[in-house]
């Protein structure tokens, strides 16, 4: 059992949990993920790590209530327990494992959409602690769903953009990126993009045109998360990779996005039915 130390709602359907998980916090790195089960009947839910504190033995996750499983998790409060919290899984971000002097030479930009802001924060913070302050584009549909603004400002050069123009710049992250590079003289040679699949697809089509090497973090359907089930197959170039052991970060240019999006919808009818049931229960 894993104790929830803190819990806070970041917007109407996104919450942040700080969990006592010494076996994860002792070795986790930005880019890696955990698998969480709320209770003994719960499904195994993969979540990318948002923050960690080795001294306090805690790991922070940010969760959006998009399905029955995450709604169930959202009912847990500080002081209560999660049945399982296992990790770290997957590989750390290359930026946090490559020699730091190499990383320092790169002109890095992060692009975060929606919930993707949480795992991006983890990497930006790590770089900041290692003397590198990167540019960060954070996109949201509107101001009221923007998350982790203050936290991100403290560790990176933040550009906020909203689809409806209610805060920061107007338009999606792709528009913002294009403006920064083509109109505002920004130069980047490395981009890390995390967010909804459709956003990562279009952002990476742009960065390819702009000649910016781009890495994305994939979050496909998973069961065990340790390489055993193969549900998380992602086509990368000519190879089929398992996101859990070979990823979750891959070169954006090589991803077969249409296949990835199709595969992520594999259990849509079942998920919708479960969501209906969960909502009735609320």
């Amino acid at each position: 059992m894993f104790k929830i130390i803190e819990k806070e709602w970041l917007n109407a359907n996104t919450f942040r949990m700080v969990v006592d998980a010494p076996m994860v916090s002792r070795s986790c790195m930005p880019g890696q993920f955990v698998i969480v089960r709320t209770d003994e009947e719960g499904e195994r839910i993969p979540l990318t790590i948002c923050d960690y504190d080795r001294d306090a033995h805690t790991v922070t996750i940010v969760v959006q209530t998009i399905g029955a499983g995450t709604i169930e998790m959202s009912k847990k409060e500080a002081g209560e327990y999660l049945a399982d919290f296992v990790g770290p899984l997957g590989n750390p971000s290359d930026l946090c494992t490559d020699p730091i002097e190499e990383v320092r030479k790169k002109k890095i930009v992060f692009v975060a959409g929606g919930l993707g802001t949480a795992p991006v924060y983890c990497q930006v913070k790590w770089l900041h602690e290692h003397g590198i302050t990167a540019d960060v584009i954070v996109g949201a549909r509107s101001k009221d769903i923007l998350i982790l603004e203050d936290e991100m400002k403290a560790v990176g050069n933040l550009y906020i953009t909203t689809d409806d123009g209610s805060y920061g710049r107007t338009g999606n992250v792709t528009v913002c990126m294009e403006d920064l590079v083509t109109k505002e003289g920004k130069e980047y040679d490395h981009c890390v993009c995390i967010g909804p699949m459709i956003m990562m697809k279009f952002l990476s089509l742009l960065t390819k045109k702009l000649n910016i090497h781009t890495v994305v973090s994939m979050n496909p359907i998973m069961v065990d998360g340790t390489g055993m089930c193969g549900a998380c197959r992602v086509k990368v170039g000519n190879d089929t990779k398992f996101a859990c052991v070979h990823g979750p970060e891959f070169d954006a240019e090589k991803i077969d996005w249409d296949e990835a999006m199709r595969r992520s919808a594999m259990y849509k009818p079942e998920e919708a039915a479960a969501l209906e049931k969960a909502k009735e229960g609320v």
């Binding site: 009947e41 770290p88 065990d224 340790t226 390489g227 089930c229 193969g230």
Partner: protein, 461 residues
């Protein structure tokens, strides 16, 4: 009860038509009368070949002699000297290739039904609250075991009995390994059998820590240098499921058997109201001919599908246990033998709509002695299915080998261990599928047992 000495006492099974629609255990096992009757068939050979055929060397005639006299508890203690999981082995061992395959009775008639007798004894012991002989005094030494599957549990049980303080680290949320995620309920009941046998191992003093991924959460070097373990046993199991590399394999509706079975067994997706979904298939092709293929096929059947086994060799080459093939056929699984998939066909939305196959014929025997199949030119045909399950074995998981410096792996990336389970690293032993590649429960147990002995000998030097 009258016994035909040439034949096994028949075992009661659920009716095939009925069991094809439920997940209750297929084989009902012997009762006391049947078990005692069957035990009279054992000749108590001076040189018991059956024991040689057993990877954990159970004193088979020994326990059967106790059983003949109705002393079931004594029979259980004889078995538990050698096996930590008798109720499991009685159900899942390929007896026809091991103990029963060597039984002298088998020369002229049918072998003694050793597996069913072992199962009876273990079930009787459990129902009557009999536990294995507890650990003797602790010797103050600590061993870490990686993986709570058959190999790790056996190694841990033996070491605990020898006085070691043993902690098992398990990556999943539940102990049991393949016994809980792989083998279905209808072949190996989880609550009734697996959990109880794991309780027995815990009662020997073994600690099991779930949700710990050695190689990620903590490394082997940290276990040895920081956590104070005197030795480590790696029983981390098989690994990444193999696919064929044919077109269409990433279509929606193509699963590894591991995924399909894990959803059903570990996550209980076969039960109404389960929170983990499983595909509701109408027609399924399972590719492969081993036990895992049979398990996946019979699970899909029970979930309401018509199921085809697609296997590239012939009937006699099927690597599955004879009993599983027999049961699968009784239940109505269709065997498309000498058939190999060449492409998975998807509809316009990317969902599986068929599997294109080619007929095969058997050619010359290959290095393994099996006749290798060759394609019959121009014989392609398509089976309309909505689901394809690949049961082609696994390749080793890199989590441990990639984070343990100096741990030698072979060209297939399996961990290299000698006959005693010793790896290229001091104090590190390994066994089971992590070393051999996908094999059987009992071979993994045998490796765990051998390594426990080697660890004990080394640490007591």
């Amino acid at each position: 009860m009258e016994v035909d000495m040439m034949k096994k006492v028949p075992v009661r099974e659920q009716d095939p038509a009925k069991r094809a629609r439920n997940f209750e255990e297929v084989c009902e096992g012997y009762n006391m009368e049947e078990a005692m009757a069957e035990s009279t068939r054992c000749l108590n050979c001076k040189k018991p070949m059956c024991v040689e055929g057993c990877p954990v060397s159970i004193n088979i005639p020994g326990f059967i002699q106790e059983l003949k006299e109705g002393k079931v508890e004594d029979a259980y203690q004889v078995i538990s000297l050698s096996s930590a999981l008798p109720a499991v082995c009685g159900r899942v061992c390929p007896q026809e290739k091991q103990c029963e395959g060597k039984c002298v009775r088998g020369i002229k008639g049918e072998a003694v039904s050793i597996g069913k007798l072992e199962r009876f004894v273990a079930d009787w012991a459990r129902e009557n609250g009999i536990k294995p002989t507890p650990a003797k005094e602790k010797n103050g030494k600590k061993v870490a075991v990686i993986g709570a599957g058959p190999s790790g549990l056996t190694c841990a049980g033996d070491l605990a009995k020898a006085g070691y303080e043993v902690t098992i680290y398990e990556a999943l949320h539940k102990a049991g390994g393949v016994l809980v995620y792989g083998i279905p309920e209808f072949r190996l009941p989880k609550e009734k059998v697996v959990e109880k046998e794991i309780e027995n191992i815990k009662s020997l003093g073994v600690k099991i820590e779930t949700d710990v991924i050695v190689g990620k959460s903590i490394t082997i070097d940290e276990l040895l240098n920081e956590e104070g373990f005197d030795a480590v046993y790696i029983g981390s199991g098989a690994g990444l499921p193999r696919f064929m590399g044919i077109p269409g394999e990433n279509a929606n509706g193509v699963f590894s058997a591991n995924e399909y079975l894990t959803r059903s067994n570990l996550m209980k997706a076969y039960e109404e109201g389960s929170k983990t979904p499983i595909m509701k298939s109408k027609k399924v092709a399972v590719v492969g001919g081993g036990n895992v293929a049979m398990d996946a096929a019979r699970t899909a059947l029970r979930l309401g599908a018509e199921v085809h086994i697609v296997y590239r060799r012939g009937e006699s080459e099927l690597p599955a246990r004879a009993e599983e093939v027999h049961h699968a056929k009784e239940e109505g699984i269709i065997f498309d033998l000498l058939t190999n998939p060449v492409e998975i066909i998807a509809d316009e939305k990317g969902w599986v709509s068929g599997i294109k196959c080619i007929r095969m014929e058997l050619g010359e025997p290959d290095a393994s002695g099996r006749r290798s199949p060759v394609e019959v030119a121009g014989s392609e045909f398509t089976i309309d299915v909505d689901t394809v399950i690949m049961a082609l074995g696994t390749s080793p998981n890199p989590l441990i080998s990639s984070t343990t410096e100096g741990l030698e792996v072979d060209r297939r990336k399996c961990i290299v261990a000698d006959d005693n389970g010793k790896t290229s690293r001091d104090l590190v032993y390994a066994g089971g599928d992590a070393v051999t590649g996908a094999a059987t429960v009992i071979l993994a147990m045998g490796a765990g047992k051998t390594a426990a002995k080697a660890i004990d000998e080394f640490l007591n030097k």
